[in-house]
Amino acid sequence: MQVAATASASSAVPGARISVQGIVLGLAVALLLFLVGYPLLWLILGALGVPQSFGLEHLQRAFTRPQNYAALVNTLQLALGTGLMSIVLGVPLAWATARSDMPLRHVVHALVALSYITPPYLTALAYIFLLGPDAGHFNRLLQAWFGFESGPLNIFSMPGVIFVIGIHVFAFTYFLTHSALKSVDASLEESAQMLGARRWQTALRINLPLVAPAITSGALLAAIDSLALFGPQAIIGTPAQIVFLPTRIYATIGSYPPRWAEASALSLLLVVLTVAGLALQRGYLERRSYVTVGGRGVRTQVIALGAWRWPLLAFCLTVVFFSAVAPIGVLALTAFSKSWTEPLSVGNFTLAHFNAALFQDQVSVRGIVNSLKLATGAAAIAVLIGAAVAYLDLRTTVRGRRLLDYLAILPLGLPGTVMAVGILLAFIRLPIPIYGTIWILLAAYVARFIPLATRSANATFRQIDPSLEEAGRITGASWWYAIRRILLPLSRPGLLVAFLLVFIPAFSELSATILLYTGGTETIAIAIYRLNDLGQLEIVSALAVFTIAVVLTLAALVTWLSGSSWTTGETPPVRG
C-alpha cells in the first residue's frame, strides 16, 4: 500500500478509496432497498389496512370472501395442470434432443426456446384466432374435415387456459431435464448395460432417478411461473369466466373505489404460494448433489433409435408446432392479411396494419417509444445495481452482503402483479409520489428484473480472477481506476448480456404495467392489451409480430454474445 500511495499520489489515498467505493456501492444498495424492500414492506402494511386503519380484519375479510376462495382454487388447479403438462411435454422432448439420434434435434431445441421467448399473452391472443369456439382456424378445419356442427374445441375454458400457459412454461422442465440428461455420464449407463440391463431398464433405473430432481424442479418452476402470468389468465380466463389470483387482484384495484387492503392481502397469498413452491423446488434441486452431475466434461451416450426415431420426431414436431409455429404463424398471417378470417393470398396481402401500428395509431406508437425508453433505462439501472451487488458478494467481506444478494434475487419469486401492488402502495404517496408518471414503471421494471442482472453480473465477475484487479491496485491504480480499466473491460460482454436479459422481458412486460400505467405512459404491451379490448385485431397482430421480432433478435444476440445460450443454463429468465 505504501508503494501504491507514492506511485499514484492522490487517487490511492485510503480515504479517497473508501469514499468512491462507498458512494458507488452505497448508492446501489440504497436503490435496491428502496425499489425492492420498501414496496414489500408496504404490501404487508397495505394488507393490514394502512393508512386508513390498522388491524387484521382486512386479511380476515379477504380470505373469507367466496370469490377470493374461488380464485385461489382456480389458481391452484392451473398450477397443477401446467406442472403436469410440462412433464408430459418437456421430458420426452428433452430426452429426444439430449440423448437420441432423432433428426432435427437442434430445430426442436430452438423452437422450444422460441415458444419460451414469445410473451405468453401473445400466445394467448394467437390461440383466440386458432381455437376461438367457432371462428378459430383449427375449429374451422375440424368442422370441414369431420363435419362438426360447431367448433369442437373451446379455448375459453379451464383446459384452454392450462393449455395456453402450459405450452409456454413446459420450457422450464424441458431445459432443466435437457441439461441434466446431458450431464449424466455414459459410463454409468454402460455399466448397467454390461450387467445385463436392457435399454429401457437403463432409462428407468439409471437415467430417471438421476434426472428426477431436475424434472420435479422444472415442473415446480413451470407451476410457479404459471401462477403469475396475468396476460393469458386475463385474455383467455375473462371470457371463460374463470378468475385467478392475479386477475382477481387486478379487478380489486381496478373497480371503484379501489380496495387496496384486499388487493394487498391477495398479493401476500400469492407470495406465500410462490415462496412455498420455490422452497420446495430448491429442496429438490439440492438433492442433485448425489448425482454425478459436475463441472467436469462428461461423455454422453447417444442412443440409436432406429425406426422409433420417426414417431418420436412426429411427437416433438407436434409439440413445437402448437407451442411456437402455429401461434406465431397465425399472428403473422393476421398482421399481413386485409381480413384475418380470409385465407392469405396475394389479394389479401397488406402492409397497412404495420403502417397503422408503427406510425399511425397514437397509443401504439407511444407504446413502442415508451417501451424502448423504459427497457433501456431499466436494463441500465439494473445492471448497475446488479454489478454492485455481485461485486460486494464476490470481492468484499462487507457484512450483510449475503442478505443483499438474497434481496436482489427475491423478485424472481414475486409475480408482476404483486410487485405492482407493492410499488403502487409505496410510490403513490410521499416521500416519492411518482404514481401516474413513467418513473413508476421504470421503478417496477428495475425491481422486477434486477435478479436477472444480478445473476448475470455475478457469473461474469466469477470468471474474472480477482488477482488481475489486485495486480492493478499493487501497481498503483485506485479502486475506481482498477474497476474502470480492468474489471469493466473484461466483463463488458457479460454485462451486455445482463443488459439484454433485462431489456427483453422489460420491453414486453404486461402484468405489472397494467396496474401502473396511465394516459401517456402506455407501453407496447398495454397498446396490445387495450387495442385487443377494442377489437382492433389487425393492429394488435402487427404489434405482436413487431414485439416478437425485437425480442427474438435480442435473444439471438444474447446467445451469440454468451457463446452458449441461456437455454442450456439452469433456469431461463422470468417473464410475464
Partner: protein, 351 residues
C-alpha cells in the same frame, strides 16, 4: 325524450342534498368558473389538457385533433372502461397525485361519487342551456354528454327473417349457445344489465344467463363476435357500435326492443385539482359545444344537446322508450348488485 325523469331526479336530489354542504360555491375553485372567464392566452400557456375518458378512441382522436387544430393545445388522454377511468381518478385523488383535468365516463354513478368526494369543480357553461335539466347537475359539476342505448345486435345470416326482437326472446331456449354479452372484469357491464333487471325483473336477466352466453371484455368485441357469426346475437350495450357495423356493410342489424331500451348516461366534468384550469375549461367547452358534439354524433353516438341531430339514419330518441337507472341508488347498492351479477353469470365482476 322520455327519460324516466322522476327516478333520475329523485336520485339526484337525494345525492346533492348530502353533498351540497361539502361542495364549494361557484367561483371559489381555481381558474375560470364559467365559460366567459376562460383566458385563451393562459390556456395556451398551460400547454396541454389531460382527459380521462371511456369513449371509443376513434371518436376521441377525432374530437382531439379538431381541438388541437383550432387552439394549438395538445390533448393527452387515458382511455379505459368507465370503471378503469373512475378507479384511476379516485386512486390518484387518494394519493394526492391528480393527473386529469377533464373526466368523462359512461357511468353517471361514477361522476356522482366523484362529486361526493369533492373532486369535481362547478362550472357554468352555455352548454347547460342546450341540455335537458334532468341530464345535468344543478351545481354544474357534471353534465351529460351522450346517451347510449342497449340494443339486440344480430347476424342476419344466422337469423334470417325471424331475429330476436325482445329482451325476453334472448332468454328463450333457442338462444342456447348463441348469445354474447359484455362486462369487463371490473364490472363495466353491470349498470345496464341492472337497468334492465330493475325495469323488467331479474327473471329476464337470469333467463339470458341460462343460455350460457359468451362473455367478452368490451362492447366492441361483441360486434366482432356477431359479425363473424361466432355468436348469432348480442346484448350490445352501445347502439353506436351496432349502427357502425351495419353502416360498414357487415351482415348485421339491430333492434331497439319494444319493452324499453336501457339507456346509459355518459357525463363529463372538470376536476377541481386541475393545474391547467383554463385549458381544461376550453376543452370542456369544445367537448360539450355543438361542434365537438357533432363529431361525437359522426361516430354514431346520440348527443345530449337538444340542438344536435341524432346519428345519420338512426331512430330519434323521442321514438324510443328509454329505461333509466336511479344512479344514486345504484352507487349505494353497487357492491350488492355486483355480487348478484357474479352469482347469476359467474366470473369476475370486481365485487
Amino acid at each position: 325524450m322520455r327519460i324516466a325523469r322522476r327516478t333520475l331526479l329523485k336520485g339526484l336530489t337525494a345525492s346533492s342534498a348530502t353533498t351540497l354542504i361539502g361542495s364549494r360555491a361557484w367561483g371559489q375553485a381555481a381558474g375560470p368558473s364559467e365559460a366567459g372567464q376562460i383566458d385563451l392566452a393562459k390556456a395556451k400557456a398551460e400547454g396541454k389538457v389531460v382527459l380521462y375518458t371511456s369513449l371509443d378512441t376513434q371518436i376521441v382522436d377525432a374530437i382531439n385533433a379538431a381541438f388541437t387544430q383550432k387552439h394549438g393545445i395538445e390533448v393527452q388522454y387515458f382511455r379505459g372502461g368507465s370503471t378503469d377511468v373512475t378507479s384511476k381518478v379516485l386512486a390518484e385523488a387518494d394519493a394526492g397525485r391528480p393527473q386529469a383535468d377533464v373526466v368523462d365516463a359512461s357511468d353517471l354513478a361514477a361522476l356522482l361519487l366523484m362529486k361526493d368526494r369533492g373532486l369535481l369543480k362547478p362550472f357554468k357553461s352555455p352548454a347547460m342551456d342546450a341540455v335537458a335539466k334532468d341530464l345535468r347537475d344543478p351545481d354544474g359539476t357534471w353534465i351529460t354528454d351522450r346517451l347510449t342505448q342497449a340494443v339486440i345486435h344480430y347476424n342476419t345470416k344466422e337469423f334470417g327473417s325471424a331475429p330476436p326482437a325482445t329482451w325476453a326472446d334472448l332468454g328463450k331456449s333457442g338462444m342456447n349457445g348463441r348469445l354474447t354479452y359484455f362486462s369487463s372484469p371490473n364490472g363495466d357491464g353491470a349498470p345496464r344489465i341492472y337497468t334492465l333487471a330493475s325495469h323488467l325483473g331479474w327473471d329476464v336477466v337470469k333467463a339470458m344467463a341460462a343460455t350460457k352466453p359468451l362473455r367478452v371484455q368490451t362492447p366492441q368485441v361483441i360486434a366482432q363476435v356477431v359479425e363473424r357469426g361466432e355468436r348469432g346475437a348480442g346484448f350490445l350495450q352501445n347502439d353506436n357500435i351496432a349502427w357502425r357495423s351495419k353502416l360498414q356493410g357487415k351482415p348485421t342489424d339491430y333492434v331497439f326492443p319494444a319493452e324499453g331500451v336501457p339507456t346509459e348516461i355518459g357525463a363529463c366534468g372538470l376536476l377541481k385539482s386541475s393545474t391547467r384550469p383554463h385549458a381544461a375549461a376550453l376543452y370542456y367547452e369544445w367537448w360539450m359545444g355543438a361542434e365537438g358534439q357533432a363529431i361525437l354524433v359522426k361516430g354514431g353516438k346520440y348527443s345530449s344537446r337538444t340542438d344536435v341531430a341524432p346519428p345519420e339514419g338512426s331512430t330519434p330518441l323521442s321514438k324510443l322508450k328509454l329505461l333509466t337507472l336511479d344512479y344514486a341508488q345504484y352507487k349505494k347498492d353497487k357492491p350488492k348488485i355486483l355480487d348478484q351479477m357474479a352469482s347469476i353469470f359467474g366470473g369476475e365482476w370486481g365485487n
